[in-house]
Symmetry: C3
Subunit: 313 residues, 3 copies
């Protein structure tokens, strides 16, 4: 079990062993989060820049807290894509940050590939916190962590991802992780948002929600991203909710131990009934807790940590 | 002398002994603030979220600095009430924060009772940094600390609160604290903003400013809150200033040792003459200094500290 | 070698020995920046307020990181000049901050002299991070550091500053520093932006760019400040670029060891060809790196540090 990467750019390029190393390291950090003093000195004297070129509160907060608990120095650099007009400008911004002797850049950007671009031009370690509709690798890792923690395994599980797959970086990263780890992935949603082309990623595609969730062990609901959709693809929230929302009636027809996930923030009454979101089968808040442990693990590993055996130190 | 509360939600529910414990603990922390190294490790490895759903610079800065000096990890979470439309959404936001293993939420919110709501649904400690027109308990505690420091006692003092009482959470918290501690409280201001109903809180109500301040030991001026008032209640700033502003002429008719307080930021020339604000009888800046010590004390106590005897450690 | 100042307000009032003490201390801190743990405890338990009344990302980030690496507690206080309408209000804001037992105020303000005003009314140490078109002393110090590091000396060098001199606080601070340290300074740019009056500061003024850079050892390009210029003084970016931009053709006519500086952020294709900005003769990113060391040195010295011999401790 070992890790040799300097960056975390995507799930697509990770091996099964690498994913497992992150999950095992995260398990060690989750234990740290339950101590009275939730800090370790692993990144003391190191500097992390959170370069968020797209607005985010939840992911940024999760990263920032992870960094604090690793004792890093932190610079939050929030900017608008409009003030970083060209790739050239992103490069200049990043190089200027790097000239401040920083060690890590956590980047969220509306352009797919922005983290990969930075990894090519910088010496700092780059962590992708979401790039366009491409990938959101730490979300997928925290999803895998949560599934493994609850189900004991990932291989052989039926996992249904429900919602706007086409524009979702979470879906892409989850699909890569789930298929690598041996789960059977079903995608479901409006046909405009769940095209057949995803079958090429090894998924089953269906537009019948009841059929999609019937045998699922995990139902992963995606947030309806109002801002990323063109109107023509998506008639109304009411229509979405009645056709694809997870209601009590629909849930009653799933396996009794099927668990519900959602990357948050949830739209109560749209993709999920409010009552279900808070029930014992919902893992939503546990995903948030695990996100912290996973992000600590990722920062720890790209900083040269080898794996969970080093965390206790 | 002891403290057993997990939250600080209001002054109304505190006992005299609890208030005194906060003030004595704050005195110990004030001494810390005068050391060369103004930090103690009391909250090391603990996480505080400053959840400010209403804009604030001064109170947030005071809390943030208190938290830093207690060595806490800090997340500043500023948001707009508009993006937290319903109580349900505040609950979701808070639960998501709590899922990050945080220990304290310091909340400012435009809705009265928001901190009490959070205290019911969360495991974290909740500190009210101002909720609607309801209470602002740390402001009242710093006011009590400042009065006691300057006058040696609170019982038996004549304290006049002058201004917009109706919409003021500072006034409500101060009234609770002052009456519990045995001061005689006079309220004064325009009749639309100082209704007789406040007599039920044990206060004297008058609309004659000269009569209100004649025998006062403490004159506590409230900031005119432009944004919280309906036009019909309040003709103009000029009129307010001439009828109720603390001018040199008015101050000359008070007791020579009457002291002036104001929660800040002051509107020079509106509720107070500029010259008076800077004179030796003004405690405005000492209130700011004491606010830091009081907030350190509150965080220390809700974290399980028992009282001032533990601060030196 | 020694330092006795409590504030850093400008370059104009510094002696050569004081400037040299900053540069030597910065050299010691630059070595700290190359360690695995880039932190020293020099400002532990001290509080710095970054009071930025004018927007800034780069300078604020550089200061914030300097403060973190000195282990200071940090409050970022960003505000709009519009909410601080009068000198009186800046005074109230600053006094309220000072009442929080802070030790340092780093101020950027659109009004020339704002830092000097604060230094008169506060007990805290004041550091000027740029005041109007007056001075930007830490920029000049990092420029001097960079020149000395690359050329081994400053006395006797030909330094050409090219661009909008009239509205540039960087130009003013650089001119003071360079002339004090014995460089020969040439100013060049459109005649409306480089008036003859600068000859009184000991500079040569020319409006012929080729003549200005021919014998230069250092060419310091200033950023074109769109916002600070009246239209009538400045026809178009294209015209500026063709008349005064540093192109490959122009660079070919300079001394082969002439080096290029720029305070950033650069406008590629306006004041400098994109290719030149990234070439080996460009010191732009080294200036950023050195800015960190210089700001650490300044904070260290105004905190009572005597000079570089104390940094290792």
């Amino acid at each position: 079990m070992s890790w040799h990467r300097k960056h975390l750019l995507d799930i697509e390029s990770l091996t099964v062993e690498e994913i497992t190393t992150v999950l095992d390291t995260a398990r060690a950090f989750k234990a740290v989060g339950q101590r009275a003093i939730k800090k370790v000195p692993a990144l003391r004297g190191k500097t992390v820049v959170n370069l968020f070129v797209e607005p985010s509160t939840r992911t940024r907060t999760s990263f920032e807290l992870s960094e604090q608990r690793l004792s890093a120095d932190i610079i939050n650099f929030n900017t608008e894509a409009s003030s970083l007009k060209k790739g050239e400008s992103l490069k200049d911004t990043a190089r200027n940050l790097e000239a401040l002797n920083i060690d890590f850049i956590v980047i969220r950007h509306s352009a797919s590939g922005a983290p990969h671009f930075l990894a090519r031009v910088l010496n700092a370690s780059v962590i992708n916190a979401g790039d366009g509709a491409h990938e959101h690798p730490t979300q997928a890792l925290l999803d895998m962590f949560t599934i493994r923690e609850k189900k004991g395994r990932i291989a052989g599980l039926n996992v249904t991802i429900l919602g706007d797959i086409l524009y979702s970086r979470v879906a892409r990263s989850d699909i890569w992780a789930l298929t690598k780890l041996g789960a059977k992935v079903t995608l479901c949603g409006p046909s405009t948002l769940v095209p057949r082309i995803f079958e090429q990623m090894g998924c089953r595609v269906t537009h019948d929600v009841d059929e999609a969730i019937r045998d699922a062990d995990i139902i992963n609901l995606l947030r309806i991203q109002h801002e990323r959709q063109r109107k023509s693809m998506f008639p109304s929230l009411n229509e979405y909710s009645s056709l694809f929302g997870l209601t009590k009636a629909r849930l009653a027809r799933t396996k009794p131990d099927a668990l519900i996930m959602h990357p948050g923030p949830i739209n109560r009454g749209v993709e999920i009934d409010s009552e279900i979101a808070d029930c014992g089968r919902s893992l939503v808040l546990q995903q948030v807790t695990n996100g912290l442990a996973v992000r600590m693990a990722v920062l720890f590993l790209v900083n040269g940590g080898k794996g969970p055996q080093e965390v206790a130190a």
